[in-house]
Amino acid sequence: MRIATLRTLNIAKVGLMAIARNKMRSLLTMLGIIIGVACVITMVAVGTGASSSIQATINSLGTNFIMLFPGAQTQGGARMAGDSRITPEDVEAIRNEAPSVAYVSASIREGAQVVASDLNWGTTVYGVDVDWPFIRAWNVADGDYFTDVDVRTAAKVAVLGASVADNLFPAGDAVGSSIRIKNVPFRVVGVLDRKGGNMMGQDQDDQIVAPYTTVMKQLQGRQRIGQVLISARSAALVAQAQNEIDALLRQRHRIGPGQEADFTMRSQEEIASTSAQTSRTLSVLLGSAAAISLLVGGIGIMNIMLVSVTERTREIGIRLAIGAKGRHVLLQFLLEAMALSIVGGAIGVALGMLIPNLVSRFAGMPTEVSTSSVLMAFGFAAAIGIFFGFYPARKASRLDPIDALRYE
């Protein structure tokens, strides 16, 4: 037993020495595994990072958040905006007649170029209602939010996101100033709290909120509400609020109980689970693309090991002639292949820990290196070494010593 262990160690040393002797070739052989492992870890890190930041953003909407869109829900989640619409009157009805609803705000989106004296900035203008700060839990840092009266009179007032204020009023004198959105003059009444980047690195502070009535009248010229943001009184009342809204809108839109509704509702929970599913699919997709590169790396190892066996036929012949048994040669080449894949895997892991950091820093994408992906990639690499190393090693061990010695 002791002798066998000692011999195994000696043979392992022989295999490792062969790697050390061919440094360049060994490195090139490992490259496939290095790239494969680094890819798997990075891809999974990017996927996980993206999904958890999306998740965090959705969770920040609050557990009692409900979103209402015009258009029927169709299979696969696609919406057909069609002719259906939700009117300001519908929103008003929800506010007044759905007891489980705490806050409700129409929301209209409009991309616009904004000018303040000599500076201009391209941003998105959201037309919302006075409940909006409560639904989004977003306060005004400077100045005031617009009032109920502003909404009713479609006053040309705006509240700037922090980034917009930074860009248009570097001196910090935004409140009280005048800006032109699509050439319509607006008065700045307030600046929002800074929220920072959200999922996928989007800057949440790069927006302007204004009364939805004003946006409809001054910027869009039509009466269409893109979506309605709703807050239930509590998380427990979300389902009830959805029922109340459903009943109310069916009645107002004259849709019978069995018929398909011309609007769609999504609670925060539903949005979260849909997006979790999407991002999981994304992760799997990225991960499997990377896993294929790992497989290709394994084939690279097999390739080089086969070449190495042929190239070293003479050496194998010598070893066999002076008393190496088939299994000793098998062990030597198998260990060599394993060492290549394990060392390659280790370098790959190191890179896989480093690259996501660089991606976060320079591409601004959130990443999250998961221990399981590191273990999986490394284990897979080692397994590949054994799997793809076995065939060349067996080939070497079955050589006939007489033929091998004669090989030129």
């Binding site: 003479r314 070893r319 002639a321 002076i322 088939g326």
Partner: protein, 269 residues
């Protein structure tokens, strides 16, 4: 002396080349006593290489028996033969067959890596050093084969053959790749080993090399054609440094036929 180190009885080897059967060896009998220095000679195609492969346990006979150092090795499987090669046989090849990019001492250690002796690393190094010193290469342990001359490389190979203290040293055309002066040096080493009691079997087609042996076995058409003991008229074998003297040997063997006319004592047939 005691039991023969090699005892071959009625050995035959048949190769099947498709439909054709080639009788490489047929009915070979050969006995080698410990301490002999035997040269096996024969033209190419004579079955000399086949005999050497079987004697070296690289191949198995089709029929007949072969006892090496008292063990019947004619029916052993691949792994058992590897073990025999490892412990009982020291190989020296025409092309040296050292591992390139591997230091001399590591080349010499190689057989011990695969042996069942269970030698520790320092013990292996000690033995290797000793074997290298024995062939006159003390101080060259860390040289790579590419840094050594042909003669020196062959000495490393001889050291490698000796390091497990085998029952026989089997040298296949050991001087085939060397110039005549170096050949004499190498033959001198074999003779010294033999003087020290080692059984040496040389396979060669060069009569000058066979001259150094105590016994010459001629193989022809798969059979032992002649088996002759040479009466050494020379008192001492030439040492490695005195190779010039070896040329002044009292006889020359030009060919097996010619050899028969020389001062030889026929043993069999």
């Amino acid at each position: 002396m005691g039991d023969p180190v090699i005892e071959i009885r009625n050995l035959a080897k048949v190769y099947k080349m498709g439909e054709v059967e080639v009788h490489a060896l047929q009915g070979v009998d050969l006995t080698v006593e410990p301490g002999e220095l035997v040269a096996i000679m024969g033209p190419s195609g004579s079955g000399k290489s086949t005999l050497m492969n079987i004697v070296g346990c690289l191949d198995r006979p089709t029929s007949g028996t072969y006892r090496l150092d008292g063990i019947d090795v004619s029916r052993l499987d691949r792994d058992q033969r590897a073990e025999i090669r490892n412990l009982k046989i020291g190989f020296v090849f025409q092309s040296f067959n050292l591992l390139a990019r591997t230091r001399a001492i590591e080349n010499v250690e190689l057989p011990m890596l695969y042996s069942d002796l269970g030698l520790s690393t320092p013990e292996r190094a000690r033995r290797s050093r000793e074997a290298l010193a024995r062939v006159g290469l003390a101080g060259r342990e860390d040289h790579y084969p590419s840094q050594l001359s042909g003669g020196q490389q062959q000495r490393v190979a001889i050291a490698r053959a000796l390091v497990t203290d085998p029952a026989i040293v089997l040298a296949d055309e050991p001087t085939g790749n060397l110039d005549s002066r170096t050949s004499e040096e190498i033959m001198g080493i074999f003779q010294e080993l033999n003087e020290a009691g080692k059984t040496v079997i040389l396979i060669t087609h060069e009569a000058e090399i066979a001259e150094h042996a105590k016994r010459v076995v001629y193989v022809r058409d798969g059979k032992i054609w002649r088996d002759e003991k040479i009466v050494q008229t020379r008192a001492h074998p030439a040492s490695a440094g005195e190779s010039e003297q070896v040329v002044a040997f009292p006889f020359k063997i030009a060919s097996p036929e010619g050899a028969a006319r020389l001062e030889l004592e026929e043993v069999t047939r």
